[in-house]
């Protein structure tokens, strides 16, 4: 009975199943019926949402804000280019997985160091890290192609399937959505494990956790690694879709945009940063058609969202759901 109870923790509840079905329907409908330009936009947004999700996971589980998470996204993108290149030591299928795991391990080690500080100091260290990787990508031309970037030739097949679909907006939209759903389920399951609850406990009161008998540094580094592996996965999808990677994906501005997406979407729900990424891309597209100063309007929007809904779109949705729930409850009892 205990085993079935603990297993139940990891099974999706009814609300999650409904949300998943709605999201799947939305993706399928968009992919099938929306204009190609809209599908292309959403595909880009979904790929970048891996980066926003990584930033959001770090805020949600550690309370730490990063200004350099373009680094794992870029390392994933370059790593995919190397894994698919002629000099790759492994088969592409193994190489792509190794890239994501490798970025995770690298950031676990980095997390052991940067996790010693918090707040502004942590943010500055991540900014420095991101800039270091960006500069390195420009300097090591033989590996990265410098500012010209790398063009990637995809093999005809990957994991037993044809790769043509990866470079069409429709195909990548569906694949990115499926991978993202798996990542979300994995994160949700992690949060329900003892390690996930411990991560939240460390976020809330690290000293008390130490006095409960735990060593906190390794787990903080694990959360940092997790938050980096997700963008690395997004970087791999980016390269598979674009067939090209350049230092543009490593700029601090890209890291900043990801942070805006995470704040816009909110981190009270795992899907918040993804909603933030979609909102960011739609706003950018719509505002970009009106004025070249779209960033100023986006900045104003961010200020308004931060003041009115400090917990972002996800927080606003949760508040709305609570209000509706109360109203339904009152209606039922009346």
């Amino acid at each position: 009975m205990t085993a079935s109870l603990s297993l139940r923790r990891f099974l999706p509840d009814r609300a999650t199943l409904i949300a998943t079905a709605l999201a799947a329907t939305a993706v399928w409908t968009t992919a099938g019926f929306a204009p190609r330009v809209v599908v292309a936009l959403l595909t880009q947004a979904l790929i970048v949402s891996f980066l926003a999700l990584g930033v959001g996971v770090l805020i949600r589980l550690s309370g730490l804000v990063t200004f350099g998470h373009a680094a794992p996204f870029g390392l994933g993108a370059y790593g995919a280019a190397w894994a698919l290149g002629p000099a790759a030591p492994f088969a592409p299928e193994i190489g792509l997985v190794a890239v994501v795991l490798g970025v995770g391990v690298l950031f676990w080690a980095i997390g052991l160091v940067v996790g010693r500080v918090e707040g502004i100091a942590f943010g500055m260290l991540t900014l420095a890290l991101g800039q270091a990787v960006h500069v390195a990508a420009g300097k090591f031309r033989h590996l990265t192609g410098g500012s010209d970037g790398l063009i990637v030739d995809l093999p005809r097949h990957l994991y037993g399937a044809r790769t043509d679909a990866l470079q069409t907006p429709f195909g990548m939209l569906v694949i990115a959505a499926v991978v993202l759903a798996v990542v979300l389920f994995g994160l949700r399951s992690f949060e329900r494990t003892r390690a996930g609850r411990l991560a939240v406990a460390i976020r809330e009161n690290e000293e008390r956790v130490r006095f409960l008998g735990y060593r906190t540094r390794a787990l903080k580094a694990l959360v940092f690694a997790l938050s980096a592996a997700i963008p690395a996965l997004g970087g791999v999808l980016f390269t598979l879709h674009q067939g090209f990677v350049s230092p543009e994906v490593l700029t601090w501005g890209f890291s900043g945009h990801a942070l805006i997406m995470a704040i816009l979407g909110g981190t009270v729900a795992l899907w918040g940063p993804i909603a933030g990424a979609l909102a960011f891309f739609v706003l950018r597209e719509e505002l970009g058609g009106i004025t070249t100063h779209w960033l100023a309007i986006l900045g104003t929007t961010l200020i308004v969202v931060t003041v009115v809904w400090p917990s972002g779109l996800a927080g606003a949705a949760a508040a709305l759901a609570r209000r509706l729930g109360r109203r339904v409850g009152e209606g039922g009892t009346a």
């Binding site: 003892r194 609850r197 411990l198 939240v200 406990a201 809330e204 009161n205 000293e207 008390r208 956790v209 130490r210 006095f211 409960l212 008998g213 735990y214 060593r215």
Partner: protein, 233 residues
């Protein structure tokens, strides 16, 4: 009976200010040892140095072993547990989850029994931020109790509680010390609680040891009266 927890010459200095100087103290299993003194006497500093929260002078022994350099987490797994003056819990986690974490961190223990004893059984599945302040203080205490500790260092567990809640807490502490054979160090301002349950009292004043003995002697000790009230009148 031999002491399970012994502090020798504990001291602490903040810049030029001496907060604690050369304080010795011994704790025995099954007994509650009160540490009292006026504000600024060094009581919380003593617990912080004794528990490894802050570095100071002197040595700490547990079960005959020098644990002065042992990290707080390791001390917890050995059986030395503490609570904090300011409620130190995890507001976003359910009480069940945090007690489970505490039990796992300490290497085992029955969290449900502790929750039942402290009257938290009905709120186990509520987040700590959703329960009353009194219940949050009990959660703080429960986190220290889970995992069968041998030594409990409690820093003002009754702070902010009502008279009735303080008395209930005193009953729990008395039971814990006696039934589980735990050595308890109690720093507390509520003298009703202190004189009701403590077997021995140590009084600090201005960071220094003043006097130690049974509560009945301490209550009428002229030095204690002077330290608290500034005169023997």
């Amino acid at each position: 009976m031999s002491a399970i927890f012994r502090c020798e010459g504990l001291g602490k200095q903040y810049g030029g200010v001496v907060a604690l100087q050369g304080v010795d103290l011994e704790l025995e299993r099954g007994r509650v040892h009160g540490l009292i003194g006026p504000n600024g006497a060094g009581k919380s500093t003593f617990i912080d140095v004794a528990s490894g929260r802050s570095q100071g002078h002197g040595r700490v022994f547990f079960d005959g072993r020098d644990v002065t350099a042992v990290a707080p987490g390791e001390r917890r797994r050995m059986g030395i547990s503490r609570s904090f003056q300011k409620t130190s819990i995890f507001p976003a986690l359910t009480i069940r989850d945090q007690l489970d974490l505490a039990a796992h961190g300490a290497g085992g223990g029955d969290a449900t029994e502790i929750a039942g004893m402290l009257g938290l059984a009905d709120v186990l599945d509520r987040r700590a931020e959703e329960v009353s302040y009194g219940q949050q203080r009990l959660v703080d205490l429960a986190l220290a109790l889970v995992g069968d500790p041998k030594v409990l260092l409690l820093d003002e567990p009754a702070a902010g509680l009502s008279v009735a809640e303080s008395q209930a807490l005193a009953g729990h502490l008395e039971e814990i010390a006696a039934r589980w054979n735990v050595a308890v160090l109690l720093v507390e301002h509520d003298m009703d609680v202190v004189f009701r349950i403590c077997h021995v009292l140590t009084v600090l004043a201005s960071g220094r040891f003043l006097v130690s003995g049974p509560p009945s002697e301490i209550r009428s000790d002229p030095a204690v009266v002077r330290a608290y009230f500034g005169s023997t009148a």
